[in-house]
């Protein structure tokens, strides 16, 4: 009798408990359903052993565990969810709002510092127009140390780590500037191109902080890199519109802003925007749904279609690949894009969900990219002796092989995952452990190539 009277109130209590759980971002609604089933069974058993429903509810909730501890445990297991939760929670209290404001202030200061820094060499008569080589080689040093500094401050890294990061930057600066490069030579161009890649890993170490050794920490960094790229592109587009309108309206009053734009607005804006973009990714993660995964879903099928069309055309027409200067670079870019698509669809994927149609599509993309690249590599290998080993060609070939190895093994792991032979986490682990390889190769190009090829 009393059980019947209490029945609605028990439902209310359970509903309340469910709502508490739902507010935790680390616990998704399917998990809430699973936990609720557990709670109900527990209550039923306790009532069966003689407790009233009220008592049973209290005991059962206590047995389920403290909600804070529980959601912390869930967050540890599902760190991708935690990633979104951090920002939302911190917007709640007064103290965290203060912290957010301080964050904005620090980032703005750093962005201004970057803008000032890029104009400092001009004080020493190193002009952007004449000394393009100097600026190209050193571009990373106007931005990346500041960005690293931001993460050092944000993650409160210990002194030892900071010292290593600083040493890395100093060593890089030495190698970028001591070699007697031929002006506008190949090796100088290679250094300018590869130094940011190597140094981006240093930024990653600061970004991930103590979590650098964990798969999840590095995966977050991959995620972060893609989002920064997208935000930076968006800021660049906006900046382009702003510059165009500025030019037009000043033109109307007969003032040419082109020189000021080229020497001040563009360089200062370009370096400052890196910091702003990074901060936006850090702070606004949950405001906008993450973009990279969305774009990935959109472009994976399109790229797969283009690649298949390419392969079919290749077979039907029987044309060989025309190996000219840029063929290898084109295929490097192709592999980079495919790798990007793979990485971001991975980071957007719920590791628990079973293989689906999109996974098959991903494999089609991977396999067709590998085939296209294999055809290109074969054509190049056949004629490499004709062309000789120029530094550009060796660098591009190295990159091609590094990407090819990564994608080939990724395909194997992906197929195994689809057939239920291994878990998705193996694929994540492979990707995160591969990160240092890119930076390593970039470092080799920066450090060894100039002396090897006589600074041409």
């Amino acid at each position: 009798m009393s059980t019947l009277e209490n029945a609605p109130s028990l439902e209310e209590q359970i509903a309340q408990w469910r709502n508490y759980l739902r507010r935790r971002q680390a616990i998704h609604s399917v998990d809430v359903a699973e936990l609720e089933d557990h709670l109900r069974e527990l209550i039923a058993d306790l009532v069966g052993s003689g407790l009233t429903t009220d008592e049973a509810f209290l005991v059962a909730v206590k047995r389920m565990g403290d909600l804070d501890a529980l959601s912390r445990e869930f967050a540890r297991e599902h760190s991708d969810r935690l990633w979104k939760q951090l920002v939302v929670v911190s917007a709640d209290s007064e103290e965290s709002r203060m912290r957010a404001r301080k964050d904005v202030f620090v980032v703005l200061c750093l962005a201004v510092a970057a803008a000032v820094l890029i104009k400092v060499p001009a004080l020493f008569e190193i002009q952007m127009e004449q000394d393009t080589g100097f600026y190209a080689r050193n571009l990373s040093f106007f931005v990346l140390p500041l960005l690293t500094g931001y993460f050092v401050w944000k993650r409160q890294l210990d002194v030892r780590t900071v010292r290593w990061l600083a040493v890395a930057f100093v060593v890089a600066a030495v190698f970028a500037n001591v070699y007697p490069f031929t002006q506008y030579g190949h090796t100088e161009g290679l250094t300018a191109l590869h130094l940011p890649i190597a140094l981006w890993l240093i930024v990653g170490m600061a970004y991930a902080g103590r979590r650098w050794s964990e798969v999840a920490g590095r995966m977050d960094f991959i995620w972060f890199s893609g989002e920064v790229f997208i935000y930076y592109t968006l800021i660049g587009l906006g900046g382009g519109v702003l510059a165009g309108i500025m030019g037009l309206i000043f033109n109307a009053i007969g003032v040419d802003v082109e020189p000021i734009f080229a020497s001040w607005v563009l360089p200062c804006g370009a370096v400052g925007a890196v910091l702003i973009a990074s901060w936006l990714v850090e702070a606004k993660q949950s405001v906008i749904e993450n973009m990279a995964p969305v774009l990935t879903r959109l472009f994976t099928p399109l790229f797969a279609a283009v690649l298949i069309a390419f392969l079919v055309t290749l077979i039907v027409t029987g044309r060989g690949i025309d190996i000219e200067r840029n063929a290898l670079i084109a295929f490097d870019l192709l592999l980079v894009v495919v790798l990007g698509l793979l990485l971001y669809s991975m980071s957007a994927r719920d590791p628990q969900s079973p293989p689906g149609f999109f996974d098959v599509l991903q494999i089609v993309l991977l396999v067709s990219a590998l085939l296209a690249d294999a055809v290109a590599l074969w054509a190049i290998a056949a004629r490499i002796s004709e062309f000789g080993l120029s530094p550009n060609r060796v660098a591009a070939l190295g990159e091609n092989i590094i990407l090819l190895v990564n994608l080939a093994w990724s395909t194997v792991l992906y197929v195994r995952f689809l057939r239920g032979r291994c878990s998705f986490s193996l694929l994540e682990r492979w990707q995160t452990e591969y990160l240092p390889v890119y930076a390593g190769w970039a470092a080799i190009v920066v450090i060894l190539f100039p002396p090897l090829f006589g600074y041409i």
């Binding site: 399917v30 998990d31 359903a33 089933d37 529980l70 869930f74 628990q352």
Partner: protein, 132 residues
Amino acid sequence: MEANIQINKDLIAASSTPIVLAILAEGDSYGYAIIKRVRELSGGRMEWTDGMLYPVLHRLERLGLIESRWETAESGRRRKYYRITPSGRAQLAEQRRQWEAVEETMRNLWSALQASIPAGNPEPAGVLSNGG
């Protein structure tokens, strides 16, 4: 009859994987039943916080050691069942070898201790003593 020994948190954490895998190796099961089985097998000495089982299950699922499916129980409630995978069985076999090695080492240690300090009151595995 319940000896109230609180088992240390680290030990519970370390043993949770083989325990869950072993219970699932007996047959497919769901969270509440797993907790109940643990209580039953340990004579109430392994007190798991019920909710904490689920992050463990989700981790094992992510690692591909177990897989899950939703089923509708006769009461009409949906319930998530877990099943051990072949790689889960392999992992269980591996864990079993490791735990047996630890067990044996401990047993040897306890008996060595018993020989040298006869006054002590060691607790051989599986036998409840009152510790007095």
